[in-house]
Amino acid sequence: MQVKYQAIILGGGQQAGSMLFPLCQDYSKGLLPICNKPMILYQLDVLESVGFGPQDILILITRNHQAVGDLVQRRAEVVYVSDDSDSGSALLESCEKIKKDFILLSCDTMIGANILNLLDFHYSTKATITCLIKEEDLDKKQGRAPISCNLNESFDIMFIGSDHSLLHIINQEDDDQASLSVTRNVLLSCESVQIMTNLFDTHIYVCQYEVLELFLNLNKQKLEIQNWKEEFLPYIVKHQRNVNLLNLIAKKEQSLFQERKQQQFSIKVFITQDYARRLNNIKDYQQANFESVIKGNKGIPLYQGVQDFQLQYPQDARISPDSVIGEGTRIGNKVTIQRSIIGKNCTIGDHVKISNSIIMKNVVINSNCIIQHCILSNESAVGHATELNKCNLGNLASVEPNQKLVDECIIR
């Protein structure tokens, strides 16, 4: 049981999964499987391995994600927040349940780093907020870059001081001006400041309890700060030396022998080279799935041990070794499966070719289909002799027989 910290997982709000259309049409983002295991279970496993017990983990979700709540109710405490709340306001609503310093995660980040190191770093540097940042590095020996952690075009430009503090953060997309301007005091505050563009924010923040109070006070002043990452964090980084901000943090009563509480506000970054990926869009989701099936040396420790059982399938089925097939799936004759992940209890007809696809539970694929680069959600069905290329099917969607579809999104 973690004594010092509490974990808070932002399980999904109204807009969760908006970039994952159509997968999240009727389905919670937290339940989307990576290698047949729902995303949110990865988060819980990581936290449990560090020592967070059910009483230390809070999951904040809105009512429409009740399925997530049911899944995890024995492993964490579920708090339902109001439907239109954003990440910041969700925190505010559940603030009575937050009693200690907390680590804030979102449900869609896959992390391979050791959280204990992060917590130790936070404690030893007495930081107010520590962000876990992954550094993307060029693989110099191979001469090519590994695939980056988010396949968006936008990236953050961060100014990191020599004592690991985060001095300034600008998102490349937002900034349209021709020049990058920083105040002088920011650059003077540390001996040397590095401008880094290859850092990826994993949305894992370890915060002291005062940060919540600060957030509360800022809201009282009607500053309209709702979203944690997009509004609150840049605001804090910008004003971290501002005396007035410090005054908003309530001063604790000082007893005679207690050390005077430091009023320094410091935001530090903990840079790791371990695996991290944020799954809020289709490309990243696919990429994570494919990374999860890599075995051997290059395999990512996070995904080891997920698939542990053997499956019976007919002899003339050609299934490549980097595919994963779930329990209870029936595979027909002359089926070719290449580099795909197939969930539980699916039915795959005869003469089907599946490559580079992600197929979730209870899916029916009739015979003679060719499915390439697709994602088929739960309980969808594909008719006879249909060719699907780069299509994504939502929950309970079905495709007519004899179709040839390229680049489509199909919902019920």
Binding site: Q172, S179, N185, L187, C190, E191, S192, V193, M196, V243
Partner: protein
């Protein structure tokens, strides 16, 4: 190494050391035990650089080198080049280029650098960089440390491999990086480092191309402002690059920009910062004290002091963190604090010298503070008489400004706490001033009187107000003119503690003379920023609360409008302040280093 020249720019083009550099160039200043230029030549020869070119402007350097005999050292080849017509270091470099001596690379050294940086690594790095790219033409040497002086405060933006990308001076509050110059691509490893703990040392290793560029751009005057700035800001067009060599932490340098840095450099030298360049070991006593002369046991010498040869330190002399040259004579009971005394100086008994630089050959009879004394101006030095330990009789207050309007004031002996005398003086001063420049003169005069006679601000204000109020007429225009004329004076002497007696004196005056209205005085005072809103409001409230006073009642009535106006202003300010606090209340940050 035989082709490698060292070029010393043995002159400065600024007048920080105003009086001294009129006669003696900065390179010939004595620095603790030797001249600055000798220290530099010593350093160069220890780093195996024997070919030295000295660019000089002042004839004294030529004289010095002609008469120079140094025993027991390797003979260096020293060439002197006269740059008599130059007005800036750029001109000097152009002159050097025209002589055509430099064929390849050279080391450029400013004439005021004291350093112990080892040049071997520097030159190696320079040659490596040249091999990589012929376009690396300048290697700046910098060392790590806290930036202390205005001239040192720059931000160094470096790319990988210590290439200098940009040098930002810290005048502006917002620092802009031009996005066209910076390549910010996603996923690239860190490229730019901004360092604020580097200090330029004034040593540059340059290629002949540097001289060529100066020749081509004949408007360029300074190395830093023009050349380096040009190279870094137009780096997308230019191909020439400037690199930076960062010395390891024990190698430092100090440039002597102005008297404070001069003193600081001397103390550092004594504290063995520039090891292995230190004063001679045989003179070392303890705690960084070096006694080359005779020091009496009853003299009190603090740490970090240097006493030159043949200097006799008599008993009861106190020396704190100062450097005393050769053949000096210090009288009994002297105090020398934070000063630099050169050679052959005579100081009378019981004299205090504080924060001064005294040039060779001077005789000091009176206490001085924060002066630079040379042979020429030693008689005109402004003397101080404020030290309680000593008798007032030994001091004379001398005139400091030749063009003072009221000569007769200063030639009287100072009267201690003589109010009558002060009042007369004040009346004289006020009577004579018709223009603003005369008022400024009067400020200086009154300052001197105040210091000489140790008069409190309050007395001055009272005396002045008496004289001032005598000169004005009842009509509003005369008042306005009078205030406009004396604004600077009043602002100078009426600070927060004196406002009360200021207002009081006006009030008494108005009570006595019914034609004058206190309200008008207050409004004018507010307009000329002599009194703040809060003070006036407090006074008005106070007057409103007074009972049984006809004057007070009249005043309260007539000033009602003004009072409301002031209250509005204060309310606005408070609103503004809360808005500011929510916004960008940046607070002046102090350097915090590990």
């Amino acid at each position: 190494m035989s082709e490698f020249y060292a070029v010393i720019l043995a002159d400065n083009y600024d007048n920080q050391f105003n009086h001294l550099t009129n006669t003696l160039p900065k390179s010939l200043f004595p620095f603790v035990d030797d001249l600055i230029i000798e220290h530099q030549i010593n350093w160069l020869s220890k780093n195996e650089i024997d070919q030295i070119i000295i660019l000089y402007r002042n004839e004294k350097i030529a004289e010095y080198f002609n008469n120079r005999k140094r025993l027991g050292r390797k003979t260096q080849n020293i060439q002197l080049i006269n740059i008599l017509d130059s007005k800036s270091s750029g001109d000097a470099l152009r002159e050097l280029y025209s002589h055509g001596i430099i064929q390849q690379d050279f080391l450029l050294l400013f004439g005021d650098v004291i350093t112990n940086i080892s040049l071997k690594d520097v030159i190696n790095k320079y040659h490596d960089q040249r091999k990589e790219d012929k376009m690396n033409i300048l290697l700046m040497v910098a060392h790590q440390g806290t930036q202390q002086y205005e001239e040192e405060r720059f931000l160094y933006v470096l790319e990988s491999d210590d290439k200098l990308f940009q040098l930002i001076d810290l005048q502006q509050k917002q620092i802009k990086f031009n996005k066209k110059h910076i390549t910010l691509t996603k996923g690239m490893p860190c490229k730019y480092v901004i360092r604020s703990n580097l200090i330029e040392s004034g040593i540059y290793i340059c290629n002949r191309d540097v001289l060529k560029s100066f020749q081509e751009n004949f408007m360029w005057a300074e190395i830093k402002e023009d050349f380096i700035k040009y190279m870094t800001t137009t780096s997308d067009i230019q191909e020439e690059k400037i690199h930076l060599y960062i010395a390891p932490k024990i190698q430092v340098s100090q440039r002597i920009f102005h008297p404070q840095s001069f003193h600081n450099a001397c103390l550092k030298y004594l504290s063995r910062f520039f090891f292995p360049y230190c004063p001679q070991q045989q003179y070392y006593v303890d705690f960084f004290k070096y006694f080359a002369g005779r020091v009496d046991q009853k003299a009190k010498i603090s740490d970090q002091c240097f006493i030159g040869q043949n200097t006799d330190v008599k008993p009861k002399v106190t020396i704190t963190k100062s450097i005393i040259g050769k053949n000096c004579k210090l009288g009994i009971g002297c105090e020398i604090i934070n000063s630099i005394l050169w050679d052959n100086i005579e100081i009378d008994d019981n004299v205090i010298i504080k924060d001064c630089i005294v040039a060779s050959g001077c005789k000091i009879k009176n206490s001085i503070q924060s002066q630079i004394v040379t042979m020429e101006n030693q008689k005109n030095v402004k003397q101080l008489s404020n030290f309680q330990k000593y008798d007032d009789n030994t001091f004379q207050s001398e005139d400091s400004d030749e063009e003072s309007d009221s000569h007769e004031l200063h030639q009287k002996k100072p009267k201690e706490n003589d109010d009558q005398g002060l009042k007369e003086d004040m009346i004289d001063i006020v009577a004579k001033c018709q223009t603003v420049s005369q008022v400024r003169q009067a400020i200086i005069n009154v300052d001197t009187i105040k210091v000489n006679s140790n008069i409190a601000f309050e007395n001055i204000v009272i005396a002045f107000m008496a004289a001032f109020l005598d000169t004005i007429q009842p009509d509003i225009d005369s008042l306005k003119n009078a205030y406009a004329l004396w604004e600077e004076f009043i602002v100078r002497f009426v600070s927060e503690t004196e406002v009360l007696c200021y207002i009081k004196s006006i009030e008494t005056f108005c009570r006595q003379n019914q034609q004058y209205h206190l309200n008008q005085f207050l409004q004018l005072s507010y307009k000329h920023q002599i009194l703040s809103e809060q003070v006036i409001l407090n006074y008005q409230n106070q007057m409103a609360a007074v009972e049984d006073d006809q004057f007070a009642k009249e005043f309260t009535q007539s000033s009602q409008q003004f009072k409301e106006y002031l209250e509005n202003i204060i309310a606005e300010q408070e609103q503004q302040q809360t808005q500011d606090e929510q916004g960008d209340g940046e607070y002046e940050y102090e350097y915090v280093y590990e």
